[in-house]
Every structure is written in C-alpha cells, then in structure tokens.
C-alpha cells in the first residue's frame, strides 16, 4: 500500500453478520474500546434465521491500515459470520432515523416558530408524528448529514430533544454481504 493511502483517514461503514448470542455486542464494543478504535455509530438487530443471526452496522473512522485491522479483528471473533466494508465495495445506502422534539408554543402563547418549523419539516420530508399546542415531534429518515442539517435548523426554533437510531446500511443493486 502506498504511504499516502496508509496515513489519510477515512470513514468506513462496516456490516457484520453475527450469531445472536449473549455477549456478542459486548465482544464487539470491547474490541473497539480495548484497541482504541472509534465508533461513530453502531446499530444492531436480529435479521435472519428466525432471530438467530443479527446484523451490526458500524460506522468508524481511521487510516486505511486501521480500518483493515478493524475488519480483520472483527472477522476473527468466533460468532462472526461475515464482515463487509460497504463503503469500499461499491455504492451503498446508509440511513438513520431520528425523532426530533421541538418545543414551540403557538402565537397565542407568545411563540412564532411553528409555521417555520413545519415549513422546514416539509422541505426535509420530516413527518409530524406528535403535536401539541406547545410542541412537535418530527420523524425523519435519511443520511446522517441530512439529519444533522435538519437538527441544526430546528435548534433556534426550540429544539428540545433528539433520539437517533444510528446508521443502517445496505449495498445497492443485487450485491449482498
């Protein structure tokens, strides 16, 4: 590998198919903390084999050498079936979902942000899933960047709380991991 590639950092989205057994998440998380790797996002849920297999999606960052090391370390865990670097093997989709609570009283109660919040939500295709005279909860799905942007726009309008799932990802086209 050329040195330039070794030393520059990149973000990787890695999908890991594992046996759904107690302790598997601790194993994966312990691997990251024990070896000093970054976890930017981590999601896990049963996906296959009547709940016996889970998929973990990890977003991490590091030099090419570190990312290759992370994949090799994951791959040698006994309950791991497959490790796929989605961000390296061609086009892929990465999505997360967020629930975003904005507290913005209506005009009679002295507020003047409700219309603006709804207008932006519409532009970002966020859905209103809960509304009171004082607040909205928006549900939004999209890339991490899009969610970040929407959250930032809501901040001056009364952003109160954010709950996010973390990234789930899958390759485009017919490819499977």
């Amino acid at each position: 590998m050329p040195d330039s590639q070794l030393n520059s950092c990149r973000t990787a989205t890695i999908a890991v198919l594992v046996d759904n057994e107690p302790g598997i998440l601790a194993r994966v998380v312990g691997l990251f903390s024990g070896r000093g790797y970054n976890i930017d996002s981590l999601t896990v849920a049963a996906v296959e084999d009547g709940g016996n297999r889970s998929r973990i999606n990890i977003v991490t960052s590091g030099t090419e050498m570190v990312i290759e090391q992370i994949k090799a370390q994951l791959d040698r865990l006994v309950p791991v079936h497959r490790v796929a670097d989605l961000s390296k093997n061609g086009p892929y989709l990465a999505r997360e979902m967020a629930l975003i609570k904005v507290v913005c009283p209506h005009e009679g109660a002295g507020g003047n942000n409700r219309a603006e919040a709804l207008r932006l939500a519409d532009a970002f295709r966020a859905r209103v899933v809960d509304a009171t005279t004082e607040s909205f909860v928006f549900e939004m799905t999209g890339s991490t960047d899009k969610l970040d942007a929407f959250v930032e726009l809501m901040r001056p309008l009364g952003l109160a709380e954010v709950s996010r799932t973390g990234v789930v990802a899958i390759a485009r086209g017919t490819r499977v991991i």
Partner: protein, 601 residues
Amino acid sequence: MPDAHPHQIHAEIPAPGAEILLRALKDQGVDVIFGYPGGSVLPIYDALFNQNAIRHILVRHEQAALHAAEGYARSTGRVGVALVTSGPGATNAVTGLTDALMDSIPVVCLTGQVPTHLIGNDAFQEADTTGITRPATKHNYLVKRPGDLARVVHEAFYVARSGRPGPVVIDLPKDILIGKTLYTPPPETPHRSYRPQTQPDAGQIARAVAILKSAKRPMVYTGGGVINAGPAAAEALTRFVRKSGFPCTSTLMGLGAFPASDPQFLGMLGMHGTYEANLAMHGCDVLLNVGARFDDRVTGRLNAFSPGSRKIHIDIDPSSINKNVPVDVPIVADAARALAALLAAWEADPTPVDRPAIAAWWRQIDGWKGIDCLRYIQPRDPGSIIKPQYAIQRLYEITRTVKQEIFITTEVGQHQMWAAQYFKFEEPNHLMTSGGLGTMGYGLPAAMGVQIAHPDALVIDIAGEASILMNIQEMGTLAQYRLPVKIFILNNEYMGMVRQWQELLHGGRYSETYSAALPDFVKLADSFHAVGMRAKSVDDLDRVIHEMLACDRAVIADIAVDPKENCFPMIPSGAAHNEMILGSEQVGSVAGVTDEGKVLV
C-alpha cells in the same frame, strides 16, 4: 450396559452435567487436568473421583493451573486443560489466560459459576467470569442450558486449537453440572462461523517465490507460528532455509523451529537479539516472515524497521498482517502448508538465485558475526564470582552429556534473555517461556505441566530469584506428584532486568529493585521435600550442575551470579536495529534513548 461408569455413559441415557463434561473431555483426548477445587465445581470433583481416565493434578494456586496447562500444551502440541472454582478461582486464572492469549497457546479453562438462578445477584463467590475474561481469552462461553454442555465443550476445544490457537473459558453454573442431560459427540460438520483459512493462495505463493528468487540480501524471520503449526512446519522451514541458502533468525517464541547449531542461524533477533540478526534485518532487501507478528520487542522503532526490504508475511491470523508493518505479499495460511507450498513452488521455478549477491551478503553477515556480540569474560581465579552467561553456557554444555530429552522453561527477566541467548535449541516445543505477556512466575508451573506430559524428560526452569517467588507454592505440587523439576536460579539479588533499565534510563537510581530478605533457597527446597544446592563461586558451578542433573528429585539450585551484569546486546525501546548497544562500555553514548523512547516499555 447398565454400568454407570461416567466415561461409559450412554448417549441415550441422561446423566448429570459433570459426567457429561468428563465424557466430552475424554472424547477430546484429554488425559490430564490441572485444577483446584471449590464449592461451585464440587460436582466435577465428585465425577473425577469415580473414574480413572482423566488424571487431576492439584496445583497450589489457580494461576499455576493455567501455566501448567500452557506448559503441557506447548511441549505436546495438544490442548491443555485447567479447572478452577468460581469467583476467586476464576480471577486467579486471569493472568494465565492472558499469557496464553498473548503467546497463542491452546488452553481450555473450566470455571465454576454460581447456579443460573443466582447469576447477577452478587452471590457468594460470584464473579462476572465471562465479562472479566472476555479480553483475556480467544473466546468464552457461559453454559446456560444443560443440553448445550457437550456441544459447547467440543466447540471450545475446536476454537482453542484451530487457526491461531488461544485460551477458551467455559463458565459452568453449578446447576448445569448437576442437572441431567444427554451427551452429544463431537460434531462432524464444520463450525458454522469460525473456519480459519489454512491453505495458502497459490498466486501469493508464486509472487513470494518470484521476490525471494530475486533477492540479493534475503532474510528469513520466524516466530511462534512455526511451532504452533506442528513439527511439519519446522521441518519444512529447515528444508527451505537450507535449500535457499538464506540466513535465518527467530523470535523468542520461535526458538527451536530452526536448529540453533546450523551455520545459517543468526540467533534470536530483537531487543536482546544478536548483532548479526538485527543488522541483517535492517539491511536485507527481501524479508520472509513466517509466523511472527512484527512485535515491538522485535521491530524496535517502526519507521526505521527493515527500511529497504520487500516483505512477505505468512500468518494464520489475518489481523496480524499489516498491523504494525505494511507488507508486500500477505499470505494467510497455516505455516506448515504455506512452507510446503513455498518449497514446491521454489523447486518448480527454474530461476536461479543471485548467488554472487547472496555470497557477498553472507560475507557482510560474517563480518557482523565477527563482532562476537555475546562474548563475556568469566574470571577463572578461585573464588571468582559466576557470570550469569557462563552459568547458562555451562548448563547447556553439561546437559549435552545427558541421555534424557531436555525441556527448558524460564521465568521473566535477564535470566530469560540469557537462556534464549546461550542455550541452543535444536527442536521445536522444547522452550517454554512467557513471551508476549512477560509473566514472572510462569516458569515453575509451566515446567510442572511439561514434566507431567514427559515424565522421563529432564525439565529445567531457568529462573531469577525474584520471579521464582511468584509461584513458589508450586514446590508443593512437585512434591505431591514426585515431579523431578530442576529449578536453576540465577540469583543476582536484584530484579535484574528492571535494574538494568534503571541503570540505562534512570540514572542508576535502583528504586525498589533490590531483592531484600530473600529466603534461604536451600532450606526452602528442604522444607518442600526437594533438594537444595548452592554455587557461591565459579569453583562450585560444574559440581552443582552435575549434582542437580544426577538427582532424581526436584531440585532448587541457587546459583549466586554477578549482580551487576547486564544483558547485551540491547536495542533500547524506541531505537532502531542499527542503534544497538553492544556492551556496558557503550552505554554512556546511547544514541537511541530519547524521551520518546523512555515512555515505551
């Protein structure tokens, strides 16, 4: 058969978990367990009481059970087995597990656990054993259903010995050991997820051969992976090195895979490696690494490591490749298979090697050898103090006259490095030493495990006076089982290796490294039913060694050696291979010791 002999239990008739466990162990070929009892494992001890197929060796501390299992495993190539109770039994085992993890030693450790309904309740002698040992093992299991027990045991042995070997813990709640269940034999189908690659890629082998044939200054660097891959790997390595005419060095873990007496062997490399091995690593243009992992003890400063070489790396563990040092040709495979493939491809390829260039390379290496970096001076006047190097050299020479097979274990410190430098290992599996973790207290219990596996062999623990005290209680185990282990203490009255660093890096301030208030080792041996002897000066040395070897009981030989002696050559931490210190006369001008180097261990 109605006979309920535990190891004859019928697959179709439910039996208590403890009996199922022993049956599974027996089917895995286990003949000995190193263990220590306690409340949670009583059902296993009860089952052991009723059978003769599996021998139990009662150690005096659970750490020792693990090291003994390691010694057994390393000297036989089989999986070692330890059995400890819950709570403190399991926590005492953690050092041994980590040691086996770092050195890739196949061990299965059975730990007792409180019954499943009490887990999480802070019950008496409860510890989160799978939590604590997760980073200390290759894999671990908590058996929660009796029906899983036999399957888990078989899988644990498979995981421990396959791929890059390592320690596996099986945590056994007491109710699982009592509850009745059915036996399941070892599976015939491959493991569902863990299937390490053992066969090398033919294309990579071809690339490797092309690079090796073009080498002008080749170097072969081998490690513990060659030993773990079994005797066939060491044989293939020896054939390849002899066929190619290349120089060969080895890590501490790999000593014995290539015969030390062979003229193509340059000795050990790394922090206390030979001048010729380290300079050849630095100067080579093609480096073939077989089963070693570019460990920091070996590479020195990474950005100055073997700067001009194209690198080929054979390893069974893909995560060891490109971890510290980027390589040109990675080959993921079992070392024996990879070396066999390499030899075959080498022979099939008509390209000749560059003989004149390699001859010139050997002349340069011979020049480095001429420095004679391991020389030392042993004063011969009567009453002279013994140089530690001389003690090892005499031990080596005198043991040549012994007919028995000889196994060496060591503790950790200067004596360990002197053993690696001055004792010549000709065969794999004959040196057991704690390499990766550097565990003081390893050598005596490991020697116990070796002696159990090889009752007629001569097993010597080369020890330091500080290290030996870390598991000295195992003298009791030696006595109980009449294990004639020889403990050869290089007694320099200091934690010599730490003292050496204090001398070189901390202005000679010997903070807390003097071995004060030492026991009288001769009396100590006596009180443990062993034989004690002492060499006070060079006049006594040969006699004591001869007496030790002639004794058919356990021996502690307390050899008083020069307390000021340091272990050279030395590459200080953070220095490069060509910044080696050859001897004390050079210490003042240590170019390599920087503040950056000082933070390293």
